[in-house]
């Protein structure tokens, strides 16, 4: 007996992935390409990890500048580093 591909209505998934959003974005960027069903979940995973890394990096930047608040500059510097890392 295999699981159904759809989640029953009663099930409440925490931290849902915005699958529609991701598909939409991908379609807009690359209309000639198709994205598989499970593919967008992995894209969501990738986004989660990216955002996590970004947050940690900007948090470190804020610590280094002895700030209690994350500021724009911290995020900017962090974004540079992490985007470079995630270039692949």
């Amino acid at each position: 007996m295999a699981f159904s591909t759809t989640v029953s209505q009663r099930k409440h998934i925490k931290r849902k992935a915005p699958r529609g959003f991701l598909k939409h974005v991908f379609k807009r960027q690359k209309p000639h390409l198709r994205l598989e069903t499970s593919g967008d979940l992995l894209v969501h995973l990738n986004c989660l990890l990216f955002v996590r890394r970004l947050a940690e990096e900007s948090r470190m930047n804020a610590f280094e500048s002895k700030c209690g608040v994350i500021k724009k500059e911290h995020v900017q510097a962090a974004a540079k580093v992490i985007l470079k890392k995630s270039r692949g």
Partner: protein, 572 residues
């Protein structure tokens, strides 16, 4: 025997733990007369002889066998070590407590009372009663970790024996019952402690020096409270698994009315103090009116809302009815007057509806205030999505029901601020982290209804990740910082060819798919991408990442798993 009694009476004047212990040892072993100072030498020789003889008598008192081990350096050893030895060596002694802290008082108590009754006889009388627990204690000689679990079963059995006994007051001549009950009672307080604090369950409790007076006090307290720990043991254990699951932060929750039951359910999952506070607060405040509610927690919401005064006015216009109703009822005083006026105006519009929302809101708000740290993202998510849906209708006075449904999850969140419904979820966040996205949603809404369908789901999707960012950061953030995050996620950098994350992603996926001669991007391409990014390596596989970061439902879709009937899902 008379000598021993004399000796013990001598020591009555010095009620230190050490002396109490000595009393135990002395009264148990009546053959060797002991002087406190000369005890050292004689104990070395005498206990060994006596030990052999005494081992044959199981009915001997507890401390006797301890002589073998404790005799050596009684002066140097602490009462704790003495008792530990006693516990470890004596097979018939109840080894329920790893801490010898427990022991000094009950045994001296036993000893004292027994002495009054003519010690030998009473001790021997006590011993048969002690035997049942000691037989149980035999199994407790296992290492410390198992002791905690076994102690429960032993406690239960001991409860049956100890309960009828423990009711009798001390010094009633039922020293034996006291001992057994005491032995068992002392088992219990530690158990609930460790169970109530699951994170410390495995850690041996920290040991302090014994303060006899305080210990006696605790002794009395715990002996009286025998019944309650048995029940409370259950509930902490029950909430343990839920704690870990539901305390887990939920950045994205369904913006449905059905959310409210989950909010109710999440109450027990809060930490004990939080849950108790929240429940108490809820029970109190459900009856209390809104203003009182607000006055109870003026600090937090006022602080949080103080910085959002400007935004409040701008946003207040867009949110009628419910926000105003709740806000109007709640303490308008803590907030600014301008906001309060607007709220009052709106309050007049739909008072009845707002009352419904107010009650739910107050309930939810009280609860959420307590669980602030956990709820941050949830409220953010909930407030976001209803805002997105409500933003769809450009008119402010659109159907009340729609707004009701949209607002209800919001009102489940903490302290509905007086001014706006939006701020009902805002107080939870340390800063107005969600204001920038929210500020943007009224913007396009106000401009044209045309791009609305395109932008709003887009915005909510993006804000999803922005909220995640503020959650992962664990620190307060500026609005500008959040805007920055959004920019770096999606919008192309106007200053250079530096494309942003999503565009990078799509480009890479296209390249990989083309490399494989496909026009469809498949999970293998995603894995390759993550490998190139360094997220997946030989140590960490993709499945590990899926397990860690994705919810179970997605994991089931992604990771193939074998099922009965020789089937694998998802099919490969």
């Amino acid at each position: 025997m008379a000598e021993a009694m004399a000796e013990s009476y001598n020591r009555d004047s010095e009620p230190t733990t050490r002396t109490l212990l000595r009393r135990v040892l002395d009264t148990a072993d009546t053959r060797t007369p002991r002087r406190r100072r000369s005890a050292r030498v004689r104990r070395l020789s005498s206990p060994t002889k006596m030990n052999v003889r005494r081992r044959s008598h199981r009915a001997r008192s507890i401390g006797r066998l301890a002589h073998v081990h404790t005799s050596g350096n009684l002066e140097e050893q602490t009462p704790r070590t003495l008792l530990k030895n006693i516990l470890l060596t004596a097979p018939e002694s109840s080894v329920m407590m790893p801490e010898s802290v427990v022991k000094p008082v009950p045994t001296p108590q036993v000893v004292q009372s027994s002495r009054r009754e003519s010690s030998r006889g009473s001790l021997e009388l006590q011993l048969p009663e002690l035997e049942p627990p000691t037989t149980l204690a035999l199994g407790l000689l296992a290492p410390g970790r198992r002791k905690q679990r076994q102690r429960l079963s032993v406690f239960q059995q001991g409860m049956d024996q100890g309960l009828p006994l423990s009711q009798e007051p001390r010094g009633n001549g039922s020293a034996s019952s006291l001992t057994s009950s005491l032995n068992l009672t002392f088992a219990t307080p530690l158990q609930p402690q460790s169970v109530q604090r699951p994170g410390l369950a495995r850690r041996p409790p920290t040991r302090r020096a014994v303060d006899v007076g305080a210990f006696l006090q605790d002794l009395r307290d715990t002996s009286l409270a025998l019944a309650s720990p048995g029940d409370s043991l259950r509930t902490p254990v029950a909430t343990l698994p839920t704690d870990t699951v539901l305390e887990d932060t939920q950045p994205f929750s369904q913006p449905l009315i059905g959310r409210s039951p989950s909010v109710y359910h999440s109450l027990p999952c809060l930490s004990h103090t939080e849950a108790e506070d929240a429940e108490r607060a809820v029970s109190h405040r459900i009856q209390s009116s809104g203003p009182r509610l607000q006055n109870h927690n003026p600090g937090k919401p006022t602080q949080l809302l103080a910085g959002k005064a400007k935004k409040v006015d701008a946003l207040a216009v867009s949110f009628p009815n419910n926000s105003s109703a709740v806000s109007g009822e709640d303490g308008v005083e803590p907030l600014q007057d301008g906001v309060g006026e607007e709220a009052e105006e709106r309050m007049e519009e739909s008072l009845s509806v707002s009352k419904v929302m107010a009650t739910t809101g107050t309930q939810g708000s009280v609860r959420m205030e307590k669980s602030k740290g956990h709820r941050e993202m949830t409220e953010a998510a909930e407030a976001k999505e209803p805002e997105g849906s409500s933003g769809a209708s450009p008119e402010l006075a659109s159907s009340t029901t729609e707004f009701l449904q949209a607002r209800q999850p919001q009102f489940l969140e903490p302290a509905p601020p007086p001014s706006t419904a939006v701020l009902s979820s805002e107080p939870l966040e340390p800063l107005s982290t969600r204001l920038p996205p929210r500020a943007r949603t009224p913007g396009p809404r106000a401009r044209t209804p045309g791009p609305r369908p395109r932008q709003d789901p887009h915005k909510t999707g993006l804000s999803h990740y922005v909220k995640l960012f503020s959650f992962y950061a664990k620190m307060p953030m500026e609005k500008a910082a959040l805007e920055m995050v959004e920019k770096c996620l999606f919008y192309p950098n106007p200053f250079g060819s530096l494309d942003k994350y999503f565009q990078h992603l799509c480009d890479d996926l296209e390249v990989f798919a083309a490399h494989a001669g496909r026009k469809t991007v498949r999970p293998e391409d995603l894995e390759l991408l993550m490998r190139r990014q360094g997220l997946v390596n030989d140590q960490v596989s993709l499945h590990v990442l899926v397990e860690r970061h994705l919810p179970l439902e997605y994991r089931q879709l992604l990771i193939p798993c074998a099922f009965s009937g020789n089937s694998v899902f998802p099919a490969q």
